[in-house]
C-alpha cells in the first residue's frame, strides 16, 4: 500500500513537471520543434536565427503559458486542416509558378480575400493595372502569443466584462475583455482593446509611401508617431491606469516632418472611455501657426494623402458605441496570412511593378463581418480575419455602400516571442476603386518608460510651434 502511494505520488509529480522539465532539458514542445527542424532543413541562416529566438527558454515558457490559458495552439489546429496540401513550407510562389498553385491558393483565401492571389497574377481587380506584385514565401505555422500582461490582466479582470448599451464594452479594466469570445462583437472588442499591442508606442518615423495606379511611388509623407494608453495598462507602470486620467482610453500624437507643406503639422488625438463621448482632436497648423481644434467626429476623411482614415487606423479604430453596426461571425477557417517577418520586407522592381516579398503561413482565424447601419457611413461593410491566438487582425476588406470592394489591407507582424510584443510591419492598403495604394513603413518601439504626458498635451503642440 505504501509502495502504491509512493508510486502514485511520483507519477503525479512527473506528470505535473513534464512540460517544464522537457523544455528545460532541451526537448521543445512540438509546435516549436517543428519550426526549428524546418528552419534547419532549409539551411537558411535567417530562418535558423529566428528559430533560435523562437525556441529560447523565455519564448517556450511564455508560449506554453498562453497555450495553457487558451487551451489550443495554432499548430495543432492547422495540422488538422487538409486544405490545399501543395501549399507547404518552403514553397515560394511567384508570378512564374502561380498557375500551378492558383486553385489551391484561392482555397486558402476564403470570404473574398482572393485578391492576394490576384496581386501575384495581375488578374481580377488588378487586371488593368499593376499594384505591387507579390512573392509569397511559405513557412510553417507558428504558435503565436501576445504579451504576458494581456493574459494576466485577462485572468484578473475579464470576468467583469460584458456588452452594454449600444454595443459598448462595460466593466473592462485591462487585458483581453473576452479571452474566449462567443460572438463577433466580442472578437472586435478584443482587438479594439489590444490598442497598439502595448502600453505605448513610438514610430520614428512612420513613413507613408503613396503609390499611383502605375505602381510608381508618387509621394512620400513622414510623421513621428507617439501613442499612449491611459487605462488598461499591462506592462509599464502605473498599472492598470494613469492616476487622474481614468476618463481617457488612449492618446496619440503625430508631428509631420516631410514634405515641406506638411512639415510641422502636429496633432493630439484623445479617445475617451465614455462610450458616447467623441474624440478630442487638437492640432497645431503650421501655416496658421495656431493651435486649433478640429472635429474629433471627423474620423472618415483620409489621413494626409494616404488611403487611411482614422476609422481604419490599425485596421479598426471605430468607436463601436457611436457607429452602430451588425457584427456577424461568418465562420472559422485556416487561411493564409502574412507570417512573422523578423527581417524587413523585400521590395524590388519586378514584373513591371514594385514587387514585395515576405513570409506567409497558415493561420486559424475567425472571419468577422461588420455591416454598418448608417447609410452615411464611409463603408457599407468590412470583413476581417482575426487571429485565434493573438486576437489581432490579420487582413481586412472594406466595401463601399454599394457593396463594391473598395479597399484591401494586409500587414506583417514583427514579434518578439520572448516577451510577446507584437508590432505592425509594413501595413499595405490599396484603394481598388481609385487605384491608389499606401504602404506605411514603421519604425516602432513599444512599452518605453520615458514616453511621458509631455508628448500628448498642449505643451507638445506649443513646443512644435514655430
Amino acid at each position: 500500500m505504501r509502495i502504491k502511494s509512493v508510486l502514485m505520488t511520483l507519477l503525479a509529480f512527473t506528470v505535473m513537471t513534464l512540460p517544464i522539465s522537457s523544455a528545460g532539458a532541451g526537448e521543445l514542445p512540438h509546435w516549436a520543434k517543428q519550426w526549428k527542424d524546418w528552419a534547419q532543413s532549409t539551411g537558411n541562416s535567417d530562418h535558423i536565427e529566428w528559430a533560435e529566438q523562437y525556441c529560447s527558454p523565455e519564448s517556450i515558457k511564455l508560449g506554453t503559458e498562453w497555450e495553457d490559458y487558451l487551451g489550443y495552439n495554432a499548430v495543432d489546429i492547422v495540422a488538422k486542416d487538409k486544405t490545399a496540401p501543395s501549399i507547404k513550407p518552403g514553397l515560394v510562389i511567384t508570378r512564374e509558378n502561380i498557375k500551378q498553385y492558383e486553385k489551391e491558393l484561392r482555397q486558402l483565401f476564403p470570404y473574398g480575400f482572393e485578391w492576394e492571389v490576384d496581386r501575384i497574377m495581375g488578374s481580377g481587380p488588378f487586371k488593368d493595372y499593376n499594384y505591387f506584385p507579390l512573392e509569397m514565401e511559405i513557412v510553417p505555422t507558428h504558435h503565436q502569443w501576445n504579451d504576458r500582461g494581456y493574459m494576466e490582466a485577462a485572468k484578473k479582470y475579464s470576468s467583469t466584462c460584458k456588452i452594454g448599451e449600444n454595443d459598448a464594452l462595460v466593466g473592462w479594466t485591462a487585458g483581453l475583455p473576452f479571452p474566449k469570445p462567443e460572438n463577433a462583437l466580442q472578437m472586435v472588442h478584443n482587438y479594439d482593446r489590444l490598442t497598439i499591442m502595448g502600453d505605448n508606442l513610438n514610430s520614428m518615423p512612420l513613413q507613408f509611401g503613396l503609390y499611383g495606379k502605375d505602381g510608381k511611388r508618387e509621394r512620400v509623407e513622414k510623421v513621428e508617431l507617439h501613442w499612449r494608453n491611459y487605462v488598461g495598462r499591462i506592462k509599464v507602470p502605473p498599472m492598470p491606469a494613469i492616476p487622474g486620467a481614468k476618463d481617457i482610453y488612449e492618446k496619440g500624437s503625430i508631428v509631420a516632418t516631410y514634405p515641406y507643406d506638411l512639415k510641422g503639422f502636429t496633432a493630439v488625438r484623445t479617445r475617451y472611455a465614455d462610450p458616447q463621448k467623441e474624440d478630442s482632436f487638437v492640432t497645431y497648423i503650421p501655416s496658421m501657426r495656431r493651435i486649433r481644434r478640429l472635429a474629433g467626429t471627423n474620423t472618415q476623411d483620409p489621413l494626409v494623402g494616404s488611403d487611411l482614415s482614422w476609422e481604419d487606423w490599425k485596421g479598426f479604430w471605430s468607436k463601436i458605441s457611436i457607429h452602430p453596426a451588425e457584427y456577424k461571425l461568418l465562420g472559422e477557417a485556416v487561411v493564409l496570412c502574412p507570417s512573422i517577418n523578423p527581417k524587413p520586407i523585400k521590395y524590388e522592381e519586378k514584373y513591371g511593378g514594385f514587387s514585395q516579398r515576405y513570409l506567409w503561413e497558415r493561420r486559424p482565424v475567425w472571419i468577422v463581418e461588420i455591416a454598418n447601419k448608417e447609410p452615411t457611413y464611409i463603408y457599407g461593410k468590412r470583413v476581417m480575419y482575426i487571429d485565434k491566438e493573438t486576437f489581432a487582425m490579420q487582413q481586412e476588406n472594406f466595401y463601399d455602400q454599394k457593396g463594391r470592394l473598395w479597399k484591401v489591407w494586409d500587414w506583417c507582424w514583427r514579434w518578439n516571442p520572448e516577451n510577446g510584443e507584437l508590432d505592425y510591419w509594413n501595413p499595405f492598403l490599396v484603394d481598388l476603386i481609385n487605384r491608389h495604394a499606401t504602404i506605411a513603413n514603421h519604425h516602432i518601439m513599444l512599452n518605453m518608460t520615458t514616453l511621458s504626458e509631455n508628448y500628448f498635451n498642449l505643451r507638445y503642440l506649443s513646443s512644435k510651434a514655430h
Binding site: 503613396l210 508618387e218 509621394r219 512620400v220 509623407e221 487622474g244 516631410y258 514634405p259 515641406y260 507643406d261 512639415k263 463621448k277 467623441e278 478630442s280 482632436f281 487638437v282 497648423i285 503650421p286 501655416s287 496658421m288 501657426r289 495656431r290 493651435i291 486649433r292 481644434r293 478640429l294 472635429a295 474629433g296 467626429t297 471627423n298 472618415q300 476623411d301 483620409p302 494626409v304 494623402g305 494616404s306 488611403d307 448608417e374 452615411t376 457611413y377 463601399d400 481609385n434 491608389h436 498635451n457 498642449l458 505643451r459 506649443s462 513646443s463 514655430h466
Partner: protein
C-alpha cells in the same frame, strides 16, 4: 549698388543651399559641428494679371519671387536655434518700370515715390537687411518653462480673415491686402518682431483645467505698425487709391513711427487651458495701435506755391499710432450634440476682446463737421472710446458624397461684430470722405454751391460694424487637387472680397496653384474692400519645395 550686391550675394548663397538639397530632398538633415541641423524651404514664382477693370485689365500687376529657407540647429536637447531666411521681391517693378500705366499707379502728386526701391525686393529703409533673416530665435526648454528669444511671430486668436486678438505682430499689406494669405493664416504677411516669449507650464489642474499654460510676451521697445501705403506714394498698385479731393486740396500723411526705446515696450500675457473639452485662452495686451485706419492728427494746412498742379493747399496730417490696451478671451469646442446626418459635428470658435480707449477720427456731431481736418469748429480731431470686438465661427466638415465620395468639405463661417461703447457724434475713416463729384471743383465751389452735403460720402465708422466670412475647401485624388473659396463681406459697406483657388499637390516637390482675387466696393473711390476693386486679378503660382 551696395544693396544690390548684398542681395546678389544672399541670393547666390541661398541658391547654392537650395540646389545642394533639392537633389536629396529626403535628406535635408545633417550634422553641423556634431549637432543635428535641419533645413528645408521653397522657391516660388507668382504672377497676376488684372481683369475686369479698365484701369489694370490685362496688365501684369505683380510678379512675386520668393526664396525661403527654414532651418533648425539643435544645440542640445533643450536648446535650439531656428531661422527663416527669405528673399522676396515683386519683379513687376522691374518689368513694368518704364510703362506709363505703372508709373501712374506709383505716383502721387505731393510726394516722390520710392515704390520701386522698396518693392522690387523686400528691402526697404525700415528693414534693411533684416528681411533676409525674417525670423531667427533661440528655443530653450526647461522642466516647466519654454523660452523663445529673438525675431519671431506670436499668433493669438481664433479668427481667420480679420484679425482681432492676433495683435502682437503687425502685418505687411502692401501685397494683395488681406487676401494674400488670409486663407493660409498670414504666415507670409505678418511682420516678425524682436520679442521675448516665455511660457510657463505649471503642471497643475486647478478646477479640472487640463494643460494649463501661461505665456508672457515682451517687445522690448521696438514696436512696428502695419504696412499699407497710402494713395500711390509707396505701395504701387496695391496702395490705397487717392481719396476724392477738391482740385485745390491735397492730403499729405506722415507716419509717426515709434523710436526704439524701452519706454515703448509692449507687453502681453495669455493663459491657455482645456476645461472639459473647452479649449480657452484669456488674453491681455498693452502695446501700440498697428492698423492703417489709425488716427490722422492734423498738423495744419500749408499753401502750395506755386500751385503747379492746381492744388493750392496741402492738408497735413501725422498718422499716429496710439496705445492699444485690450483684454479678451477665446474659446473653442466641438459641439458633438449637433451631428449632420450622423457624421460630423461643428467646431465652435469664439473670440472676443474689449479694447480700452481706442482712438477714432472724429467728424463732429453730424456729417459735414470735418473735425478730423482741424479746419472746422471742433476742438477735438479724435475721440477715444472703448470698443468690443467679437467673432463667432463654426468649422464644419460636411460630407457631400455626390460631389466628393472620399473627402469632406471643410466649411468655416465666421460672424464678426464690432461695437463702440458710448459713441457720440460721427466717426470716419479719414481721408476717404468725398464722393467723385468733388473732383470737378474746388472746395470753395462745393461750399458755395448750397449743396455741400451732396459732395460728401464718408467711409463712416458705425457704432456696430458687422462682417462675415466663409471658407470652403475639399480634396480630390488623394489630396492632390484642392479647390478652395474664401469670401469676405463688410455688411455695413456692402463690400465683398473673394479669393478662389485651385492648388495641385502632385509629387513631393512641385505645388502649382491658380486662382482669382476679386473685390467689390459700394463707392466710386472705394470704401472698405472697395479700395482694392482696381486690383481684381487672376494669378498663377508655382512652388518648388524641398
Amino acid at each position: 549698388m551696395k544693396a544690390f550686391k548684398f542681395i546678389l550675394k544672399s541670393f547666390t548663397l541661398m541658391a547654392a543651399v537650395f540646389f545642394t538639397f533639392q537633389s536629396s530632398a529626403l535628406c535635408a538633415e545633417f550634422e553641423l559641428a556634431g549637432r543635428p541641423f535641419f533645413i528645408n524651404g521653397f522657391i516660388t514664382q507668382e504672377s497676376a494679371l488684372g481683369v475686369d477693370n479698365s484701369q489694370f485689365s490685362g496688365r501684369l500687376l505683380s510678379a512675386y519671387t520668393t526664396l525661403q529657407l527654414e532651418w533648425e540647429f539643435k544645440l542640445s536637447q533643450s536648446v535650439s536655434l531656428y531661422g527663416i531666411n527669405r528673399l522676396f521681391g515683386d519683379q513687376a517693378y522691374n518689368i513694368n518700370h518704364n510703362r506709363h500705366w505703372f508709373q501712374r499707379a506709383n505716383r502721387q502728386n505731393a510726394q516722390p515715390t520710392n515704390a520701386r526701391e522698396n518693392m522690387e525686393w523686400e528691402w526697404n529703409t525700415n528693414d534693411r537687411g533684416w528681411e533676409v533673416f525674417r525670423e531667427i530665435y533661440f528655443d530653450i526648454y526647461t522642466e516647466n518653462w519654454q523660452f523663445r528669444l529673438g525675431k519671431q511671430q506670436v499668433i493669438w486668436g481664433e479668427s481667420d480673415g480679420l484679425r482681432l486678438m492676433d495683435c502682437i505682430n503687425p502685418q505687411d499689406l502692401r501685397y494683395e491686402f488681406n487676401l494674400r494669405d488670409s486663407d493660409e493664416g498670414y504666415e507670409y504677411t505678418r511682420i516678425p518682431l524682436w520679442l521675448i516669449k516665455a511660457t510657463y507650464f505649471p503642471k497643475i489642474e486647478p478646477f479640472g483645467v487640463r494643460d494649463l499654460q501661461v505665456e508672457f510676451v515682451i517687445n522690448p521697445g521696438k514696436p512696428k505698425h502695419d504696412r499699407l501705403e497710402l494713395y500711390g506714394s509707396e505701395g504701387g498698385v496695391w496702395a490705397t487709391e487717392m481719396p476724392n479731393l477738391p482740385t485745390d486740396i491735397r492730403v499729405n500723411v506722415t507716419n509717426k513711427d515709434h523710436k526704439t526705446s524701452l519706454d515703448n515696450s509692449e507687453f502681453a500675457v495669455r493663459v491657455m487651458g482645456d476645461y472639459d473639452g473647452w479649449l480657452f485662452t484669456l488674453n491681455a495686451y498693452y502695446g501700440y495701435q498697428q492698423e492703417n485706419t489709425s488716427i490722422l492728427v492734423p498738423t495744419g494746412p500749408t499753401p502750395v506755391s506755386p500751385a503747379w498742379d492746381g492744388a493750392g493747399l496741402t492738408l497735413n496730417f501725422d498718422k499716429k499710432f496710439y496705445h492699444k490696451k485690450l483684454v479678451g478671451f477665446t474659446l473653442n469646442k466641438e459641439l458633438t450634440a449637433i451631428r449632420l446626418r450622423k457624421t460630423t459635428s461643428p467646431v465652435l470658435r469664439v473670440e472676443a476682446l474689449y479694447e480700452f480707449d481706442k482712438p477714432f477720427c472724429y467728424e463732429g456731431d453730424n456729417i459735414g463737421g470735418m473735425a478730423w481736418t482741424g479746419l472746422g469748429p471742433y476742438s477735438q480731431a479724435r475721440k477715444f472710446k472703448d470698443q468690443i470686438r467679437m467673432m463667432v465661427g463654426f468649422d464644419w466638415q460636411i460630407y457631400i458624397r455626390a460631389l466628393n465620395k472620399r473627402e469632406s468639405f471643410f466649411t468655416s463661417a465666421q460672424f464678426f461684430v464690432f461695437y463702440i461703447r458710448g459713441k457720440n457724434g460721427e466717426y470716419v475713416n479719414a481721408p476717404f470722405y468725398f464722393n467723385n463729384k468733388i473732383k470737378q471743383g474746388t472746395m470753395g465751389d462745393a461750399q458755395t454751391s448750397g449743396d455741400f452735403g451732396s459732395y460728401i460720402d464718408p467711409w463712416r465708422i458705425h457704432q456696430t460694424q458687422k462682417y462675415f466670412s466663409f471658407l470652403m475647401n475639399t480634396y480630390y485624388d488623394n489630396k492632390r487637387i484642392m479647390p478652395q473659396v474664401l469670401y469676405l463681406c463688410d455688411l455695413n459697406e456692402k463690400a465683398h472680397g473673394v479669393k478662389a483657388k485651385l492648388a495641385f499637390n502632385y509629387g513631393s516637390h512641385w505645388r502649382p496653384e491658380v486662382g482669382v482675387m476679386m473685390w467689390w466696393g459700394d463707392h466710386d473711390t472705394g470704401k472698405s474692400f472697395g479700395l482694392f476693386q482696381k486690383n481684381r486679378q487672376v494669378y498663377m503660382k508655382i512652388k518648388y519645395q524641398f
